[in-house]
């Protein structure tokens, strides 16, 4: 799959998951802005990574502000923000990426040649500005009403 089709599929999968499961209308920004610049504020980020293998191997990732996670978890689970615990937040971030990755593969992998791994949570200490610069691969930049996110794919 060429890069343009791959990124188009990722845009479609990400919008679909965030809007259907988290009630978050999103705008995908067409820009070459780096991740460091995109997340230029003082906010802490968390994320998830999800490996895949098949005709090619690599991983998907999702990055979002830590402050946004409580809200999307509350939306996702349909419970009040005050009742959300850390485990639920991590699980929601992982499941979000699981749905994005799975949905993306389902859009182009009709033969089921790819297999997904198990999503892993990325703590905010592992997403400092310096480390963001080291993230390889292609990313799409996503904006909700109040937050900035990014989703990407790294082919090994």
């Amino acid at each position: 799959m060429d890069r343009e089709t791959m990124m188009k599929t990722m845009r479609e999968a990400t919008s679909n998951v965030l809007e259907t499961m988290f009630y978050q209308p999103v705008q995908i920004r067409d820009t070459n802005c780096s991740l460091q610049k995109w997340f230029s504020g003082k906010q802490f980020l968390v994320g998830a990574t999800l490996s895949f293998n098949g005709p090619s191997a690599g991983s998907f990732y999702l990055l979002l502000p830590a402050t946004m996670v409580t809200g999307i978890t509350a939306n996702f689970l349909g419970i009040e923000e005050e009742k959300i615990n850390e485990e639920q937040k991590k699980d929601t971030v992982k499941e979000s990426l699981n749905m994005i990755g799975g949905h993306m593969l389902s859009l182009f992998d009709t033969e089921g040649a790819f297999k997904l791994g198990i999503p892993e949570f990325i703590e905010e200490n592992d997403l400092t500005k310096d480390k963001l610069g080291g993230l390889k691969g292609d990313a799409i930049l996503i904006e909700t009403e109040e937050n900035r996110l990014a989703a990407g794919i790294v082919i090994e």
């Binding site: 499941e95 949905h103 389902s106 009709t110």
Partner: protein, 142 residues
């Protein structure tokens, strides 16, 4: 008659969502049971009466496809309908699930209506808990 449903997913959030949708669906639900993978699901199935299994595919220890295969080896468990609720939506994966004996397939992300529709199709009830029946059955001894 109330139906017992087993939800199998390694994501506790996803289990909570499916549980919530089923709870408010209006169906006559008995126990809502949970398991984090296929192995746990088999333990629950050996211990409790279950009328329907909703399972993810991509899980550690024992995945959803392996769970169906295990269930099909057992005389009692093979009769329980299994619906896949999963991000893995390729035609091949759907076909593979159906060939193993899955009764339905719901792709994540899903709308609550899709879960309700599937429950209705499998349980033969409408959302008010009224069992659908063939007019020819009226007055039978059952």
């Amino acid at each position: 008659m109330a139906f017992n449903v087993l939800i199998v997913d390694d994501s506790s959030s996803m289990r909570a969502i499916v549980r919530k949708i089923i709870k408010v669906s209006g169906f006559n639900i008995g126990e809502l049971l949970e398991a984090a993978d296929g192995k746990e699901a088999i333990k629950v199935l050996m211990d409790k009466w279950v009328d329907l299994v909703l399972t993810d595919i991509n899980m550690p220890n024992m995945n959803g496809l392996e769970l169906i295969s295990e269930m099909k080896k057992d005389e009692m468990l093979k009769l329980i309908p299994v619906v896949m609720v999963t991000t893995e939506g390729s035609e091949k994966r759907i076909q593979e699930s159906m060939e193993l004996g899955a009764s339905g397939y719901i792709k994540k992300p899903f709308l609550p209506e899709e879960i309700k529709r599937t429950l209705s199709a499998i349980m033969g009830e409408d959302e008010d808990g009224q069992r659908d029946y063939d007019e020819d059955d009226e007055g039978s001894d059952f």
